[in-house]
Amino acid sequence: MDVYGDIPANWRDLVLRKFSEAEDPQAGMSDFTLKGENVHLWRGERHVLHGVHFSVADGQCLQLTGPNGAGKTSLLRTVCGLSYPEEGHILWRGEDVRLDLPAFHAQLAYLGHEPPLKMELTARENLHYWVGVRRRLSSRELDGALERVGAQRWADRPVRTLSAGQKRRVALAGLTLMAVPLWLLDEPTTNLDAEGQRLVGRLIDEHLAAGGLAMAAVHHELIISSQGLRRLELRLE
């Protein structure tokens, strides 16, 4: 078996899933949809998420808004499986993502507050090692992605020498290279100028047009022309 393949997070759940698949051949054939049902999350003494419900269909982007500390980041981290909700479920195409986290992870890209880049490596090297773990990358593809985010001119400089906005653009290039249907973005426009913010909007638009889904925590409205934009307002307790 592939050592890097799907290792069950929980063998008991896996056994149960095997049974349900045997009984219902249609399972797993539902839409490309992401759903959250009654998600509760605690952080120490703080009840961060109080029964959050949401759903995102193919070609839709769910924009998460709300004041600082309302749980936008926590919700994104719970959706991608980093945090474990105390109650509730995250469903991907009708199936609890906890049943097979590695398979779910193979379908998503998560961008946190900070661009996940190594300061000592160049932008190109960073993308090579970061995305290369997931899929084979040709150098042509890499160049294409760097060009799309306007990063080709400084792609071979160490990331340490780049500005915050330039680093963000490199991270966006990584996002497009992952070629996955689900994008989870935490403040994707941070540190970007007006042109950069339009770039984020364009990338999301194209992603949605190709049938992808996105969830983004934002402070400023995303500049998206797609019809698929929806909002979820998280409030402080």
Binding site: W42, R43, G44, H47, Y84
Partner: protein, 245 residues
């Protein structure tokens, strides 16, 4: 589901109330057995033909050493259960274990060295049993240090459970490597523990002490467990009943 009874049994209010109900039973039977063991060990049993009355330290040293291992194992098993099934009560058991185990490990070390002085002529010999016990003490210290390093109880529970499981796998490896090491350096080893040739008048108090110490551990564990369960329980109506009664 077959698991529902298990979860009901492990539900915090059930555990809290059961622990409350059981504590006096364990505590009193432990007290009776330990007093009986003390009388038997200190007064009734005959002196050893080689070690005279000095061997009587055995009656507190051996049960302490037994608890040091039993508690570590309990802690690791509880931690493992907590990790796999995400069961808060199991983590509460593991959290309750550490200080008990560490204190009895220390007791075993000090009584061992007090026993060593008349037998070996020195307080400390690098005897395999004492050396293993010392390393076990370090394992306990590491566990408690790691637990204390996290503010969030949930994370502290889960991280320290990983350490306890890794530790318990290593305890036999450490012990046998120390025994192997000692066999190369042939030190004097006068101590004996539960020799099969022990006359019943010596053996019976020892067995009574073993059972008494184990029951004592259970009683203290149940008391601590109630506290740890409360700390981990958030807005639950049963807490109101328990706290205000």
């Amino acid at each position: 589901m077959a698991w529902t009874w298990f979860h009901r049994l492990a539900s915090p209010p059930h555990v809290y109330r059961t622990a409350e109900r059981l504590t006096p039973w364990f505590a009193w039977s432990a007290a009776i057995l330990i007093v009986a063991g003390l009388i038997g060990g200190l007064y009734l049993s005959p002196p050893d033909y080689q070690q005279g009355d000095g061997y009587r330290i055995l009656y507190v040293h051996a049960p302490s050493a037994w608890l040091s291992l039993l508690v570590y194992t309990t802690m690791a098993v509880a931690g493992g259960i907590g990790l796999i099934w995400r069961m808060k009560v199991a983590h509460a058991v593991a959290a309750s274990c550490a200080p008990i185990g560490a204190s009895f490990t220390l007791a075993a070390l000090v009584t061992g060295s007090l026993w060593g002085k008349p037998m070996w002529g020195t307080y400390w010999q690098w005897d395999p049993r004492l050396t293993s016990e010392l390393l076990l003490f370090f394992l306990y210290l590491g566990y408690m240090g790691l637990r204390a390093a996290f503010e969030d109880v949930q994370r502290s529970d889960r991280i320290s459970a990983v350490l306890a499981v890794v530790g318990v796998i290593n305890v036999p490896i450490i012990h046998y490597s120390v025994v192997w090491w000692n066999s190369l350096h042939q030190g004097p080893s006068v101590m004996y523990l539960g020799k099969p040739t022990m006359p019943p008048s010596m053996l019976v108090p020892l067995l009574i002490m073993f059972v008494g110490f184990t029951l004592f551990f259970a009683a203290v564990l149940l008391m601590r467990l109630r506290g740890e369960v409360l700390i981990r329980e958030r807005a639950a109506s049963w807490v109101r009943e328990v706290v205000h009664s």
